[in-house]
Amino acid sequence: MFGHFDLSVVADSLPYLFGEGMVFTLTLTALAAGGGLVLGTGLALLRLSGVPGLTHAAKLYVELMRSLPLVLVIFWFYFLVPYLGAWAIGADTPIRVGAFASALVTFTLFEAAYFSEIVRAGIQSIPKGQSAAARALGMSYAQVMRLVVLPQAFRNMVPLLLTQTIVLFQDTSLVYVLSLTDFLGAASKVAQRDGRLVEMYLFAALVYFAVCFAASLLVRRLQARTAIVR
């Protein structure tokens, strides 16, 4: 059954697969993870702020994002971002936004919801006595967060944040629905051009597996190391 297996298709397309596809995938993953972490931290702080309006708005956003499939969210922003852009700069017609920009906005906003839950749990894992003590020392709320709670919370969160980033790395393959050339998109384009679906998709699966498995082993090792600290 592997008789007419043609590995030269894979070999010939390596520069395209990695030079374009994988670079795209990694760029999108890194930017969305960074943006998602910043926004997610903001959301978590809003949610823990105790100000009723802000808490509820943040909660509503997180719950809404988490109840929608990523594919639907990708479509939403693909169509919404041009209108939002037009509204932001006061233009009459929807502005042109590249598929990459739209994907970046989507993944950043989508991941923010998931990251915010991790950050919230992380902040809550720091004993209340610490922030109470810091307040008693005369620090403001911002100082308590910045100097006492967040540095420790982030340390506890690192393994979970990295695991979520691995999930994000896998999820970026869904930009396929926008016909973008991420790693899977590149593999798929070659597969369809040359009629070599079996080789290309198996190879793609192998590469994703290798990257994610290695990354998850590293996370596990990190987890074992930080666990002793507490």
Binding site: M1, F79, Y201, S216
Partner: protein, 240 residues
């Protein structure tokens, strides 16, 4: 902003010939629900088996279980979908392969299999965690009473473990429900696919996606309400 809202669009006939746009979305909703339920049967059964394997004293069973979980967790769902849909029929014996490809509703069966196997890996981890969370005395007491290992799992460990993991299992079910939308890439006409084709036919982007969003939110709420009921039903009386 020039966008012509038309909320009446749902009552207009869809270009498919039969029914309105609303009917189109509802048929998508039905496919989403049926796919989620069917794949959950596989995910729950297989996931329980693999999860149990990972708690057995046998090293081989453990290794097989671990390999299963790592394999299915470290490859994106979309790639797995393509493997089941495009690659598997090619690797089967020629006649069987072409029979599979010509099957009516092939995207549905593929999606069910793919999601079932994919979600099973996640269910397995939950089941394992649930069994691990039980005091060791439970297994020992079961065995001391003369139960076999199989009986101990069936009558003592699993019923307790499932109670513990009901909340994370609910999230897995919700994930499974949302993941059905990935099957639009292989041609399953589920809710997201229907919303997209409604947008393509009618150009009423925001109405179509708003409707799909509300339907997904409603599904989530129904599942959460159901899980809460179930949790109350199966709670051990007098327990926490």
């Amino acid at each position: 902003m020039n966008y012509t809202w038309n909320w009446g669009i749902f009552l207009e006939p869809s270009p498919e010939g039969a029914g309105t746009y609303a009917d189109m979305l509802l048929s998508g909703l039905a496919w989403t629900v049926v796919t989620a339920l069917c794949s959950w049967v596989i995910a729950f059964t297989l996931g329980s088996v693999v999860g149990v394997m990972r708690t057995l004293p046998s090293r081989t069973a453990n290794a097989i279980g671990a390999a299963y979980v790592e394999g299915f967790r470290n490859v994106p769902l979309l790639v797995q979908m393509f493997l089941w849909y495009f690659v598997l029929p090619e690797l089967l014996p020629a006649r069987l392969g072409s029979a599979v490809k010509q099957m009516p509703d092939a995207p549905f069966y593929t999606a069910v299999l793919c999601l079932g196997f994919f979600t099973a890996a996640r269910v397995a981890e939950q089941v394992r965690a649930g069994i691990r969370a039980l005091p060791r005395g439970q297994a020992q007491a079961g065995l001391a009473l003369g139960l076999t290992w199989a009986q101990t799992y069936r009558a003592v460990l699993l019923p307790n473990a499932y109670r513990i993991i009901l909340p994370p299992l609910t999230s897995e079910f919700l994930n499974n429900l949302k993941n059905t939308s990935v099957a639009l890439t292989i041609g399953l006409l589920e809710l997201t696919a229907r919303a997209r084709s409604m947008q393509e036919f009618s150009f009423q982007v925001f109405e179509a996606f708003t409707a799909a969003t509300l339907l997904y939110v409603a599904l989530n709420l129904v599942v959460i309400a159901g899980a809460t009921l179930l949790e109350r039903r199966v709670a051990v009386p007098g327990g926490r």
